[in-house]
């Protein structure tokens, strides 16, 4: 399918998400806000800290955007409607998203500033908490589809969506995806009011605009991943496939953003403790459960 169309879909998705983010933060629902905010952001001065690691400082926002876009490239909007169809798609999503952490550590280290540094290294700790909870539910999803291809995984849910066959994996993946996208209550690397913006604190003007855009793309990509892996992808009645994917993805993204309004931020140690003492054992239970159901069904 043509690249420009996919790009246009991504841009409009991000725009709608920006509207939703504004709503989740302030309670105001306005279609023009992202344009106004974006223009204001771009017209601001782009300051550079006094003694930065200039190379990493400039690279980090671009890498964050690239990682989120690469992960989105292998996720289908409808059968055949995707940038690249890889046989290892589900693994590739994970590989691309690993560079989100690299970008944030870079952005934290580069400005030579305390809050940014703490934010960056914090996200490395956050990765230790969420990464297994991304991979293990994905394993169970791939088990059912008997394939790592994202198209096969979505198609494998024709009879029953994965959210119903493996609800435990769905919840764990959803929470881990929120932690990966560092949306509240998992916004430890930016932590407004505590780290004064953390990794984003030293960025201004165009660079901050790119970082914010990248974060929105990341949220959208992860919402799309949840839809493809657990909510049947393009499957649905009446509407065409791509429309179902769009509706589901925006709904998931809105819920991801809305949750932060009602839940207080977790502390890093609590996040790690919950992830390792409860999350990973539950993810193992999920894999065993899916294995048993698959064996029972195939008999």
């Amino acid at each position: 399918m043509s690249g420009p169309l996919l790009l246009l879909t991504m841009i409009s998705g991000v725009y709608l998400l920006a509207v939703l983010e504004e709503w989740s933060a302030t309670g105001r629902l306005s279609l023009s806000t992202p344009v106004v905010r974006g223009l204001a952001q771009l017209s601001r001065e782009s300051l550079v800290p006094r003694k930065p690691d200039r190379l990493l400082f400039e690279l980090a926002p671009a890498l964050l955007l690239l990682a989120a876009l690469l992960a989105a490239a292998v996720l289908p909007l409808a059968p055949g409607l995707m940038a690249v169809d890889l046989a290892t798609g589900a693994l590739f999503v994970n590989a691309a998203l690993a560079y989100v952490m690299v970008a944030l550590v870079m952005a934290g280290w580069a400005p030579d500033a305390a809050y940014a540094l703490i934010g960056g290294w914090r996200f490395l700790g956050q990765l230790i908490a969420y990464s297994m909870l991304i991979v293990m539910p994905l394993t169970a999803v791939a088990m059912r589809a008997q394939s790592l291809s994202t198209t096969d995984i979505a198609a494998s849910q024709a009879v029953l969506w994965n959210v119903l066959t493996q609800p435990l994996g769905f919840v764990l993946f959803w929470l881990a995806a929120m932690a990966l996208a560092f949306v509240p209550p998992f916004d430890l690397p930016v932590a407004l009011g505590e780290l004064a913006g953390g990794v984003f604190a030293e960025y201004t003007g165009v660079r901050l605009a790119i970082l914010r855009l990248a974060r929105l793309v990341l949220v959208l990509t992860l919402a799309l991943a949840i839809v493809v892996f657990f909510l049947g992808g393009w499957l649905g009645a009446l509407l065409p496939g791509w429309a179902w994917t769009g509706v589901k993805t925006l709904a998931v993204a809105a819920l991801m953003l809305a949750a932060g309004r009602y839940v207080p931020r977790l502390s890093p140690d609590a996040l790690l403790e919950w992830a390792w003492k409860l999350g990973i054992p539950l993810a193992l239970v999920n894999i065993v459960w899916v294995g048993i159901t698959l064996l029972a069904v195939s008999k």
Binding site: D53, L56, L86, T88, M101, L124
Partner: protein
């Protein structure tokens, strides 16, 4: 096997960037830059795998190295006295021995690539999904003992490390 022109270009580009980043690892005094340059080199090797039509290995390489190299970076920052490289501290030692070891190691690697008679090159690489399937069968049959042993060893190391890190109980 005759490579497509694009494939040859990708091989040269990824190979050259793997070497370039490899040199950059030793040309900087900043621990974080050094670790990230190593990540660049390792990612380029991942790109090489992709260019050689081994999709799973390429994607796995890209995924594993991102986390490993960044975790290495934080340990380097914790243990080194001048992690930012701003103090211009000289951190090299035993230069002659290191150069000798490097040259000898390099020569051995070149010899290993040239000396043995490698088996015939496959005409066409199997489809990525077939490669995945074959790899799964291999891991669950012939290579199972090797991987299980390695997994057990790593698990033991993790338990031991955690035990050592726990606070001392005695007064």
């Amino acid at each position: 096997m005759i490579a497509a022109p694009g494939q040859t270009v990708a091989l040269v580009v990824f190979g050259a960037s793997a070497l370039g980043f490899g040199v950059a690892v030793f040309r900087t005094k900043s621990m974080v830059r050094s670790a990230l340059a190593l990540l660049g080199s390792m990612s380029a090797v991942g790109g090489l795998f992709l260019a050689l039509e081994t999709e799973f290995l390429g994607v796995l390489q890209l995924m594993m190295m991102a986390t490993e190299m960044t975790i290495m970076a934080i340990f380097m920052v914790m243990f080194m006295m001048d992690p930012g490289g701003l103090g211009q501290m000289d951190m090299t030692h035993q230069k002659r021995a290191a150069v000798t070891a490097g040259v000898v190691g390099g020569l051995i690697a070149v010899a290993l690539s040239a000396l043995p008679s490698w088996a015939a090159v496959v005409v066409a690489a199997p489809a990525p999904s077939v490669q995945l399937h074959d790899l799964g069968i291999e891991l669950m049959s012939r290579s199972m003992l090797i991987f299980e042993t390695a997994g057990l060893a790593i698990l033991v190391a993790m338990i031991v490390a955690t035990t050592i890190a726990l606070a001392e109980k005695q007064p």
